[in-house]
Symmetry: C2
């Protein structure tokens, strides 16, 4: 086990991103942008801080991602009236329209990644990954 684990994860991450970006080329989406949109598809109009947390990005990085998504007309920013420090992110019609094809794309990508795994193996893998996260103080 000299693979250092992080090298292994890094290779998978790279392969995953490469597959995603080549398949998502028609929409010109990066993985982080997808993760942000995915969270918005679940609940539109959430605030920046929650979106950043759930998407696994810090607020600094999220600002740039949101700028690009906004420039492309996929989302809009709206100041919250009750608390004017808060910005709420809303999907546009175009942003919402991406959900079906992109979700299907990612589902097939996950299927590709786990091709040949039995349900038990998949479950064991996911459990192992959760355990590692816990061990490393994921929080």
């Amino acid at each position: 086990m000299d693979v250092t684990l992080s090298l292994l994860l890094g290779r998978i991450r790279k392969a995953f991103r490469h597959q995603f970006e080549s398949r998502a080329a028609p929409w010109d989406l990066t993985v982080p942008q997808f993760v942000v949109l995915k969270r918005l598809w679940q609940s539109d109009g959430i605030r920046t801080a929650l979106l950043a947390h759930d998407a696994g990005a810090d607020s600094g990085a999220l600002t740039g991602i949101l700028n690009r998504l906004e420039a492309r007309g996929l989302i809009t920013r709206r100041r919250c009236e009750e608390d004017r420090r808060v910005v709420r992110i809303h999907l546009t019609h175009e942003g919402r329209a991406l959900e079906p094809p992109i979700i299907a794309l990612v589902a097939s990508l996950n299927e590709m990644a786990l091709h040949g795994f039995t349900p038990e193996e998949r479950d064991a893998l996911v459990q192992s990954l959760y355990r590692i996260g816990d061990n490393l103080g994921d929080e």
Copy 2:
């Protein structure tokens, strides 16, 4: 399994990096810098392209990493005499001296990540990760 797998891997990656960088703080090393040094500890004097490949970075990113390691006196660049396009990377005394503490650090970090795993579970996990890499066209 809506976790998208990539989110799970991303969280682990982040936790791993956080742990590494806090423990490696005395040496001020990033994970990519560590991976490059690790490869050099195995075989000093290899060429840039091989180093980039084995460290999982492209040559473009490696240039920056090597610049920083060189500026800190951990490595030196040397033009190859037979083929003057090639640059060979050599460890300095300081760079070589980092090996024992950093290797020990990473070993304990891997141990932390896999705490509570039986040898069989560890093996199954590593095999699963290799299979995923293959499925995604790791190459």
